[in-house]
């Protein structure tokens, strides 16, 4: 009897969960489907879901118009580059804050986070002038620097909360055994820290990939990532739903696929200290 109730519950929950999941995912699904339609089918009323003439025409048009691969490579270099450099700076800082906390550690962390609250539009012109003077406009390296800096507080915060959950006793035990600082980091901490670092890395690649203010304003042709690519489609002429969908799909597909494949790793460390 109890078993039956359980199964029935499971079925109900299954239906509800799938319904909600599909509803949330639907806008993306619809975009992908529309990208394979002709422009006329894209605005057909009543809408056509699956039974229409599937075509790759929109992708061809989009590729003819813009060099997708170049934008894609820029996005990869900028998001991965800024994340790696960010980690390089953040791991030691977060480690020190977590294991050698001082009186001011909390304040320091909050201050770091507050730098992220500055409205970027307010400082665009000053920064543009600086970048012009040191020749960083429209360079990948320039964007890597900016994105590293704007995401650094989040990286540090995430790592800090993760590191803090590593029990201190383990370290003490290692120290008792006469482990050096180096050994402590290499053999004790690293294995425990890897999941946290991995999910920080993934989250930041996503954030950097989707950053659309600096990447659009500090680039022209050479370093322009996919955010700039999509900016040229934001209000094209005439019927454009299908082409817009194709361009949108091309802009989000790489990160979406990466996100799906690594979602386990992403989720594992994504707690920001919320779990005690």
């Amino acid at each position: 009897m109890a078993r039956q109730v359980k199964t029935r519950n499971k079925v109900i929950v299954t239906i509800a969960a799938w319904a909600v999941g599909i509803a949330i995912f639907f806008p993306i699904l619809w975009t992908v489907i529309t990208s394979f339609k002709s422009e006329a089918d894209a605005i057909a009323d009543p809408p056509v879901f699956l039974f229409f003439n599937w075509t790759l025409e929109n992708y061809v048009t989009v590729q003819e118009r813009s060099d997708y691969f170049n934008h894609f490579m820029n996005s990869v270099v900028i998001s991965v580059g800024s994340t790696l450099i960010g980690l390089l700076i953040a791991v030691p800082a977060a480690w020190a804050m977590a294991f050698v906390p001082g009186k001011r550690t909390k304040d320091l962390l909050m201050w770091m986070l507050s730098t992220k609250m500055l409205p970027p539009v307010g400082v665009l012109v000053p920064l543009y002038l600086i970048f012009r003077d040191i020749g960083l406009l429209d360079t990948r390296i320039g964007l890597v620097i900016v994105l590293t800096l704007i995401n650094l507080p989040i990286i540090i915060w995430m790592l800090y909360t993760y590191f803090r959950e590593i029990p201190g006793e383990i370290l003490e035990a290692a120290r008792m055994d006469g482990a050096t600082l180096k050994a402590e980091i290499l053999y004790v901490l690293t294995p425990m820290a890897v999941p946290g670092i991995a999910s920080t890395l993934l989250l930041n690649i996503i954030l950097a990939w989707n950053e659309a203010f600096w990447t659009l304003n500090l680039t022209a042709a050479n370093a322009a990532p996919l955010t700039a690519f999509i900016a040229s489609y934001s209000s094209p002429e005439g019927l454009f739903y299908a082409k817009l969908s194709a361009a949108s799909t091309m802009a989000i597909a790489p990160i979406l696929i990466m996100g799906w494949f690594s979602q386990k790793q992403l989720v594992r460390g994504l707690t920001f200290g919320a779990v005690k």
Binding site: I43, L137, S232, Y233, G238
Partner: protein
């Protein structure tokens, strides 16, 4: 001499990479994502073949983003672009600042005198041409001949606003999603304000009097705005306050508008059977008037300009010359047909008997000639520009006023309130900028 030096330098650099040794200059061209520009990108093979030493990199952006990016870059001398696509609004202001390289030394074969006078005057400052027009436009009425006939009406070649209203009423059938008139409603100085400013000219309104005092508290503006709101609320499509040129184009192409008053360049899109469901049922007429001597049409051109600071002036000029030449028009005609040629720039195009066969050619030319940027209004004004005021503050002002009118269209505030707000904010900004002492 310089070229040889450059060639040598290039050769040194390239031979190190052991590739072919010719000097290649790369220029970056910023452009707007309009159909004619996109088409040009598809025809670059011709340019590359004629000028193998110049490589062109495109930065294609949506209009508002483009404007912000290029203005910011040229004002800070950022040097990211070698050729910029700019409007007739920017050219005189930028030229006065010395930001643009002049184009007076283009070869005789380019035939700059062939450029339509109305357009050329707007691009000339103190006798020098500062940008080359890629395409020019005015605005006109585009209407559905079948619906007009069904309504039992006959569109005159030069209609009045009263006729437009009458026709809109007869053509509207909301149950069939058929709206008598589609007009711009999206806020922006280049969106709803382009239309409304041009419309207000024909109503005898103006932005400023000769002492730069804003005029939104006058009767002419009130009449303009109430008539516009009346038309749109009764006969316009839903969501009009978010509709700009592109949204309206999509509506018209999908057969939902009876009439549409907008840019003449739209004519080639709405008559193109590939994109438009109503391609063979479109007629054209001049923009309406109110019997006061001015029509409600504007004048605009997208032009190619070269920033004064660029080190690649020669290559940039070569490109600008190619893109705005008579040969380019012929090239487009041979590949895509005459109807798709960038319109509104050259007298010779309108004298071409082949082009005269294009249904909207004459109406486009007449509309362009009917606009006078130096005397845009019924009463005298201290500014130049039909649907804009050629002062640097106008972008901000126009957009802020546009937001008020857009809010009135959305029904959030009344027409009176919108005009009152517009007047207050214009007085404020003009005082801040020092026009009103």
């Amino acid at each position: 001499m310089k070229t040889i030096y450059r060639a040598l330098l290039g050769a040194c650099a390239l031979s190190a990479l052991s590739t072919a040794a010719f000097a290649e200059t790369t220029i970056t061209v910023a452009t707007v994502n309009n159909g004619d520009m996109i088409r040009m990108q598809g025809l670059m093979a011709d340019f590359n073949q004629k000028h193998p030493d110049i490589k062109v990199q495109w930065v294609t952006l949506e209009e508002n983003v483009l404007r912000q990016r290029v203005t910011q870059d040229i004002a800070t001398k950022g040097g990211q672009f070698d050729v910029m696509t700019i409007g007739t609004y920017e050219v005189p202001i930028w030229a006065k600042r010395g930001w643009l390289a002049d184009l007076n030394d283009l070869p005789a074969s380019y035939d700059a005198n062939d450029i339509l006078p109305a357009i050329r005057n707007g691009l000339t400052t103190e006798g020098k041409l500062y940008a080359a027009p890629f395409y020019g436009e005015s605005s006109m009425v585009m209407y559905r001949t079948d619906l007009m006939k069904a309504a039992g009406l006959d569109m005159p070649a030069a209609p009045t606003w009263d006729f437009i209203k009458q026709a809109a009423e007869k053509m509207t059938d909301k149950s069939k999603e058929q709206y008598g008139i589609c007009l711009r409603g999206k806020a922006g100085w280049g969106e709803n304000m382009a239309f409304l400013t041009a419309m207000s000219n024909s109503y005898g309104a103006r932005w400023f009097d000769e002492k730069w005092k804003p005029q939104f508290d006058g009767a002419a503006w009130k009449q303009t705005l109430t008539d516009y709101l009346d038309l749109m609320n009764k006969y316009g499509p839903p969501g009009a306050s978010a509709n700009g040129f592109n949204e309206n184009l999509a509506l018209f192409q999908s057969g939902k508008c009876g009439m549409w008053i907008d840019a003449t360049v739209a004519a080639s899109f709405v008559t193109n059977p590939k994109d438009s469901k109503v391609a063979d049922k479109v007629g054209f007429a001049l923009a309406p008037d109110k019997g006061l001597g001015k029509r409600g049409n504007w004048l605009w051109a997208w032009n190619l300009g070269i920033p004064a600071g660029t080190k690649k002036v020669e290559a940039a000029k070569t490109f600008v010359e190619w893109a705005t030449s008579k040969e380019y028009l012929a090239l487009v005609a041979s590949k895509e047909g005459w109807a798709n040629v960038p319109p509104g720039t050259r007298t010779s195009l309108y004298e071409n008997p082949e082009y005269a066969k294009v249904p909207f050619a004459k109406m486009t030319l007449d509309s362009i000639n009917a606009a006078d940027p130096t005397h845009p209004t019924v009463d005298p004004v201290p500014y130049v520009g039909v649907q804009f005021v050629a002062i640097p503050e106008f972008q901000g002002l126009g957009t802020a006023v546009g937001q008020q009118f857009s809010a009135a269209l959305a029904g959030q505030i009344t027409a009176e309130k919108a005009l009152e707000n517009a007047q207050a904010l214009t007085v404020r900004e003009m005082t801040k900028a020092g026009y009103i002492k």
